[in-house]
Each structure stands twice: as structure tokens, then as C-alpha cells.
Amino acid sequence: MLEGQLEPYGRLRDNLANRDRSLREKVMSLEEAASLVQDGMKVGIGGSTMSRTPMAMIWELIRQRKQRLSCSRCIVSTDGDLLIGSGVSDHIVTSWFAQGILWGLSKVMRHHIEKGGKRYDEWSHMAIGMRFRAGAMGLPFLPIRSMLGSDVLRLRPEAKAIDCPFTGEKLLLVPALNPDVALIHVQRCDAYGNAQIDGLQFMDIDLAMAANSVILTTERIVSNDQIRRAPDQTKIPFFCVDAVVEVPYGSAPHECYGLYEPMMKHMNAYVAQVNGDPVEGMQAYLEKYVYEPKSWNDYLALIGLEEVLEAARSGRSIYND
């Protein structure tokens, strides 16, 4: 099913009816969880820009040499560079795609989109949000009042402008986005997948409800008892989660709210290398940092203990007063 094309309601319901939604433990390794992602899938990515990116899972998808993933996210940063630069993804659906404002344009994005035959479908930020939300609500679309009049809309015939049947006002209907799988990184969840998210939630809750399966990576796995003591802090319920992987520093070199800030030295070095040569530079980066390390911890060691600790110090400082 192509991105932008709607699954009939019956199929969406059947997919869900066939999922095991029972209260069961689903802890597994990063390798096992990544193997649930199949070539050609529509993949929804949690977090935004450099925050709570499911980087460990993306890293493992690249190691497993996935292909033709169609990846959607509210705002795409280094994650998108790595996904298209590694050949794992050939299609990005988002509202903004670069490395971050500090580094100007992404040469990796430019190379692959302008000349490399990869696609970047642009929607407004709210449109992406409403597409996930429609998917989460079991609806074929949601109306919005933006994108109208712009060329962003002109390139998106998947959306439909209508006259409101109540008021006659012009509205844009954006189609639901129900990814085959969502990759979401959280601060805490239990073995069943009940997840708590501190700070910025981005579009992760709608994304989790919309997706046909969800892989959670988490900084730590806590007991179900702990979750039950504050059920109003649960943001993603266990029954939409299919895999739970404990990966401390699983968003590195990006940030995870309250735990660590972005590892900026590594980011600066990364950008210098891949923007210097978006093909060879990227290849060398992938070799050294993705393919060669024996484990995620080995990758963290390459970033360096000092930088990891400094990121943690500043990350935790949000709670210092």
C-alpha cells in the first residue's frame, strides 16, 4: 500500500483484530525487534528533530540492510540522513528535512532528493500531525485550515479541498496515515509496553495508536506495579505495542528529555563529514559508527564517555530547580 493511499476501514480493523493485544511480556533484543520491520514497509518515526529519536532502532535497521522503507515523521533530522544515505529508505514523508538549523542545508538530503531518485513528500507540520491523528482515531481523514492556497498543497493531490457542508467555508481534508510499524523511544515502559513519556510528546501518542504495529525502545523497563501506581502518567497503552527493547541512551547522539541533551561534538563532526561528501563521507560514517561496532554500547563508546556524560549532566539539569 503506497503512502497517501487509504486502507479501507475493514482492512484496518482486520489488521488490528488479528494483533495479539493481550497483556503479555514482549521484551526482546534490538536485533529481534528490528527483524519485525520488513522491506517496503511504511515506518512512522517518533520524536522530532533531534529529540527522542529512536536512533538505536534506526541504527539496527541499517545494520540489517533493510530496503525501500517509506518513513514518516513530523520533522526529520539526522535520522533521515542516515535512512536515505544508507539506502534503507527511499521515501521520506515529513514537513521539514535537514540536519538542524545550526548546520544549514543537509547535503545528504540534497544529494539523494535532487539527483539520487529518492522522494521527499512535503506536508505542513500540522497536516502530518492530523494524518497520524486521523489514523489513531480510526478515521479516513481530518480537516485542516492550512496548506490551502500554497504550492505545498499543489504537490499533494492526496489531500482534498472541500466546501464545509455546514458553513460553506473551504477546508482541506488530509488522509489518515497508518504506518505499518511505528518506532518510538521513551524514557520508561513496562514489559507489556505501557509507556510513560516525560516532557515533549511530539506526535508519538497519535503515531502509536495509528500504526499497525509499534516497536518501543526505552531507557529503562520498569515494573507494571510502578505503572499502575500512576496510570494517568501512561501515554501509550500496552495493547498497541508489539515489542519492547531496553536501550539506555537509545536516542544518542540526539537528546532524550530529562536524561541527556544532544551530543553536539559528535553531531558537528558528523555533519562536517557527511556534508563534506554526502556519499563517501556518509559511507565512511556508516562503516565506522554503524556497521563495525559490535553493539550499541560500542557505538556509544565511539561517541566517547566524556561526551555521553556531559550530555547526561546537561539533560538532567532540566530538573535542577
Binding site: 522530532s48 521539514w96 512535503e122 507540520h125 500554497s150
Partner: protein, 255 residues
């Protein structure tokens, strides 16, 4: 001026900050807008409510801890509320926001912004990052844009309307389904611009100190409208500049 007391980015930020007032709700983008809104807060408009696209309401960014994007935790320190990023954008649609405040890569005479494509979108010379929240913000509220003034950035017609201003002028914005908001001010290191009430074309409201009409026109890719008596903006004060430099000691955004 025998010697520049401030950089282009600094005067841009200071002038932009002056357009915000206490009590307003402003949706600010990363970079100069975030910095200018924070500057306004520190210079008297302590009741200015700043919203960020990452999902932040009522932020008070700490001096020296500017975030690298509006999706970072630094944006939330001492904020009044944190919510989902679709939900903070919906505040614009509902009408809680007075001013949208963004940077721009390319703008045209009707205030349309392009941050998507240079050249033909089907075979672009440059694929730019895209709209982010820009399209939503500019579609749904009154906009202030702060940007560098260069001829290639101030064009007669943008290659691609990412964030709508007044589309083709006149009533075309409302007719496109955007009845609310529109471009309000453009602030550059050379001048401050508004838009004609009828034609919706960009016009010069005030020149920055030491800047001539010719300079502005020479750096603009279309014919500008000047009022009979174009005002001259007061230069940045020492207080404005020192506060600004205190906020951005690493000169992350003020260059």
C-alpha cells in the same frame, strides 16, 4: 556610523523584538525569532507568551542556553505548559495566537515565503528543508518575518509558495480559503516593511538607521513602494544590544 556597533543579525533581532508587546501570544520559530521574542520578554514584555512548535506554551528560555531547535528540552525549561506538537499548532487554528514569528529563505512582493525549492519543484536546483510549521503558522495568524535582505531572497515571485502571504495580492488569500491572518511585518537589517491594505504589496514603513531608499531598492528584486515620509527606525540601544548579547553569548544566532 563610522564603525558598526552591531551586526546585521543583531539589528534584525532588536527591531523584530520591538514589534512584540506585553500580553501577546507569539508563536516563534528557531533562530532569530526565538531570540527576539526572548529579548522582548527580558526588556519589559515579561507577560509575552512564547509558543514553540515542539509543543511549548509560555516559554522562558535561559540566557546562554539557547536550544538548537524548538523541539529540544531547553525550550521547556520554566515553561508554563508542554503539549503535543500537533496540539500547539492547533492553537493557531483555534485562534489563541496573536503573532506568528519566523525567519525566511525567500520572500516575494506579496509576502509569500519559499523554503522548499529553488528552481523548478519537479527538478529543483536546490531542495530546501521545507515548511516545518511555517505553512500552518502563516496560514492561520498574523506574521512577522525576520530575514536577511538580499536580492536573491527578495524576489518578485517566489519559485514555490511554501508559507502563504497574500498569494497574488488583493483578496486572493481569503479566496484561497485563508480568511484569517496574513503577512504583517517583514524586518530586515535594512528596513521594516508592511503590506498595502488593498493591493497587499510589500511597502517600506521605516528605514534602518543609516540606510537609504536606494540601498533597500538595490537589494530587492522587485519595485518597492515607499511612503512620502518613510520613517527612520531608532538605532538599537545599548540596553537592547547588551541584553541580546547576554542571551546569546556564544553568538549562535546573532552571528
Amino acid at each position: 556610523m563610522t564603525e558598526a556597533r552591531y551586526t546585521a543579525a543583531e539589528i534584525l533581532t532588536v527591531l523584530a523584538a520591538r514589534h512584540l508587546s506585553d500580553g501577546q501570544v507569539v508563536f516563534a520559530g528557531i533562530g532569530i525569532p526565538l531570540l527576539a521574542a526572548t529579548l522582548a520578554q527580558r526588556l519589559g514584555a515579561s507577560g509575552l507568551t512564547i509558543l514553540f512548535e515542539g509543543g511549548v506554551v509560555g516559554a522562558f528560555v535561559e540566557p546562554g542556553k539557547l536550544p538548537p531547535s524548538t523541539n529540544d528540552q531547553r525550550c521547556t525549561k520554566r515553561a508554563n505548559m508542554v503539549l503535543g506538537s500537533a496540539d500547539v499548532l492547533l492553537l493557531l487554528q483555534r485562534g489563541y495566537v496573536d503573532i506568528g514569528f519566523m525567519g525566511g529563505a525567500q520572500i516575494d512582493q506579496y509576502g509569500n515565503l519559499n523554503s522548499s525549492f529553488i528552481g523548478d519543484p519537479g527538478d529543483p536546483r536546490t531542495r530546501l528543508p521545507g515548511t516545518g510549521g511555517g505553512n500552518d503558522i502563516s496560514s492561520l495568524t498574523n506574521m512577522i518575518v525576520a530575514m536577511k535582505h538580499e536580492k536573491r531572497r527578495f524576489v518578485e515571485q517566489v519559485d514555490f509558495i511554501t508559507s502563504p502571504g497574500f498569494i497574488r495580492g488583493g483578496r486572493t488569500r481569503a479566496e484561497s480559503g485563508l480568511p484569517m491572518g496574513g503577512m504583517f511585518r517583514v524586518v530586515t537589517e535594512l528596513a521594516v516593511f508592511g503590506f498595502d491594505e488593498a493591493s497587499r504589496r510589500m511597502k517600506v514603513l521605516a528605514l534602518n538607521p543609516g540606510v537609504t531608499r536606494e540601498q533597500v531598492q538595490d537589494n530587492t528584486g522587485f519595485t518597492l513602494v515607499f511612503d512620502e515620509k518613510t520613517a527612520i527606525t531608532k538605532p538599537p540601544t545599548e540596553q537592547e544590544l547588551s541584553m541580546l548579547r547576554m542571551l546569546d553569548p556564544e553568538r549562535l544566532f546573532i552571528g
